[in-house]
Amino acid sequence: MAIPSDAELDTLIRARLALVGVDLDQLPETADPATGSPTRAAAMESLRTFLAGPKVNGVRQGGRPAALSFWTPPATGADALAKAQQAAPPLLYPSITEAWTEEGR
């Protein structure tokens, strides 16, 4: 699948922010030393880059969500994906879980 165009990314960003009640137009159009806030244009470019990666020779290279989305816990064999579902259950606090579950204490 092709990486979305900047126009498509802009639509996605504005729609997503609007759905959760965040208005990018609160940011200034020009630099604002008093608050240090980035301009709307700078914020949009930052978010495009976050989503789809920086441009190299005019082409975005893939962003952060994709890097997370294509990882699954390692599993091998004919039914690797089915096995991967069962591996590495999510842990918010792995060190605490280690203490709560470890044997021998």
């Binding site: 609160q26 997370l68 989305s69 699954t72 999510p90 606090y93 792995p94 060190s95 203490a99 709560w100």
Partner: protein, 519 residues
């Protein structure tokens, strides 16, 4: 295999109980709350006798116990340095002079604990009752908590005296700046060069301790902000295992990665501070049901044989393959030579798992959704409240829930890789980045190992097994018994008062720089 960590602890405990050879003797346990460490009567150096702001926490406490130093004298000495040098350092967001003096006088009359009369700097993201807590952000302008954070309460209940709130990166992201990005706090070792990196967001507490404006301090770490300022300012920082200290009353950056801990002058001071701070807290379920705190003060008290340090327990130190690369390679090589010469330490080479860079680098971005979530009402109210830091909060809104859950699965995979991999071959492991053990909630200690060609301190980072902060302290204390880096203090700024801060131009972070440097 999946329970190798358990097997190691189990074997250590069993062998100690059976009176086996002391090679793997179990550390002493200090038990539950309230913890009141028994402080050793340390020899007080002449420099500390001559100037109480030079004293370590342990030295100052020894002098106060022996009635050779009054808390008011100690506090006043630090306030005098604040008067003289704070205009240059800008280590504090607020100085609570009157309250500190009143507390010191109360401690003169009736010392209340092991920290009786010890002047402390508290990072400005810890709630302090009746004192503004801003996290150095427009978001919390005017916020005055009606209670102390648990850690602050424990420190003051033990007699510690809060001199003020430490300057920090806005919402604990970058080095300390005003909310609009103007860099405030300098590295105490280069007070005339604002460009020198003073470390992470706990900059103010670190500069306060390094500049002798406070005896000790507490910071928070989500992406290195206890260890890195300690490394950059010749201090000893101890980021405990997740859950060892309560996070109640600390403005969050990431609920799964925030840690609180001491930034101190040496391993013993860090041990004392952490002992007082730690333990179960009914207001923070993450602190419940965890292993007892080992006797950290004992762990940080070096053992000497014929004047040379030796380890309490044989300790295997893992050295990663990339450790002797980069600008600090020579200092690190010298550091390893000293470690290798300490009786009871053995160095082993360790390798990273194949997917190390992905799971500790790319997956670091999962933290962004965690910082966004508790601040969503403010994002909806006015983006300008986030000042120079807003970009990473907006980025967090663009990660999906399934991607965040994937990152939590990656943590489960990663901790098994670490505990069954490198940490199966060693007791502690040297680090070249703080991020992996921040993601996993594993303990780390940072301590000084020398200075670079520009005179800026360089430190080592040592990571450990879950809830084995004692092992980290044993190594750091033995190293500090063999070296004197930790005893060196920066010279005072060349001029006192506001006139001293005469940089060629203010240093201002842009929003893009703030996002790139964000913890």
């Amino acid at each position: 295999m999946s329970r190798e960590y358990s097997r190691r602890v189990f074997l250590a405990q069993t062998s100690a109980a059976a009176g086996a050879a002391a090679l793997v003797a179990s550390p002493a346990k200090a038990g539950g709350r309230p913890l009141a460490p028994s402080l050793p009567d340390v020899d007080v150096r002449k420099a500390a006798l001559d100037d109480p702001t030079e004293a370590t926490l342990a030295e100052a406490a020894a002098l106060i116990r022996a009635r050779k130093l009054k808390p008011t004298t100690l506090v006043e000495a630090h306030l005098a340095r604040i008067d003289a040098f704070e205009p240059t350092y800008k280590a504090f967001n607020a100085v609570t002079r009157d309250a500190a003096l009143a507390a010191a006088k109360a401690q003169d009359r009736r010392p209340t604990g092991v920290l009786a009369g010890i002047p402390l700097c508290v990072k400005d993201n810890y709630f302090t009752k009746g004192v503004a807590t801003t996290a150095n952000s427009f978001v919390f302008a005017g916020f005055v908590p009606d209670e102390d954070a648990t850690a602050v309460s424990r420190l003051t209940s033990a007699g510690g005296i809060v001199l003020g709130k430490g300057q920090m990166g806005p919402l604990a992201t970058t080095r300390a700046t005003t909310p609009n990005g103007v860099v405030t706090t300098v590295n105490a070792w280069t007070p005339t060069n604002i460009a020198t990196d003073p470390g992470g967001s706990s900059t103010g507490p670190a500069t306060a301790v390094a500049g002798r404006l406070a005896t000790s301090a507490i910071g928070t770490q989500t992406g290195g902000s206890i260890i890195l300022p300690a490394n950059q300012q010749n201090l000893t920082g101890l980021k405990p295992t997740m859950g060892r200290t309560s996070l109640y009353g600390i403005i969050p950056l990431s609920f799964t990665r925030d840690h609180s801990g001491p930034i101190a002058r040496d391993a013993l001071d860090a041990a004392i501070m952490l002992t007082v701070m730690s333990g179960p807290d009914e207001k923070d379920p993450r602190t419940q049901g965890l292993p007892d705190l080992p006797d950290l003060v004992r762990a940080a008290t070096p053992v000497l044989r014929k004047g040379k340090p030796k380890m309490r327990r044989t300790t295997v130190v893992g050295v990663p393959a990339d450790y002797l690369t980069g600008s600090a390679a020579t200092l690190r090589k010298d550091f390893l030579a000293v470690l290798a010469g300490i009786e009871g330490i053995r160095l082993v080479d360790i390798a990273y798992p194949d997917d190390w860079a992905l799971l500790t680098g790319t997956f670091n971005d999962a933290r962004l959704a965690e910082r966004t979530e508790p601040f969503r009402p403010y994002l909806q109210q006015d983006l300008k409240l986030f000042g120079v830091s807003v970009l990473s909060w907006l980025q967090g809104l663009l990660l999906s829930g399934d991607e965040w859950i994937t990152a939590q699965r990656a943590k489960a995979h990663l901790i098994r890789e670490v505990l069954d991999g490198p940490l199966d071959r060693c007791d502690v492991v040297l680090q070249t980045s703080v991020v992996p053990f921040d993601i996993l909630g594993l303990p780390e200690i940072g301590f000084p190992i020398g200075f670079n060609a520009s005179g800026v301190p360089v430190g080592a980072i040592l990571g450990g097994q879950p809830y084995e902060e004692d092992r980290l302290l044993e190594v750091a204390a033995a190293y500090q018994a063999a070296t004197d880096w930790h005893l060196r203090r920066p010279v005072d700024p060349p001029q006192a008062g506001a006139a001293a801060r005469a940089f060629a131009a203010p240093l201002v972070l842009t929003a893009e720089e703030a996002a790139a440097q964000s913890a």
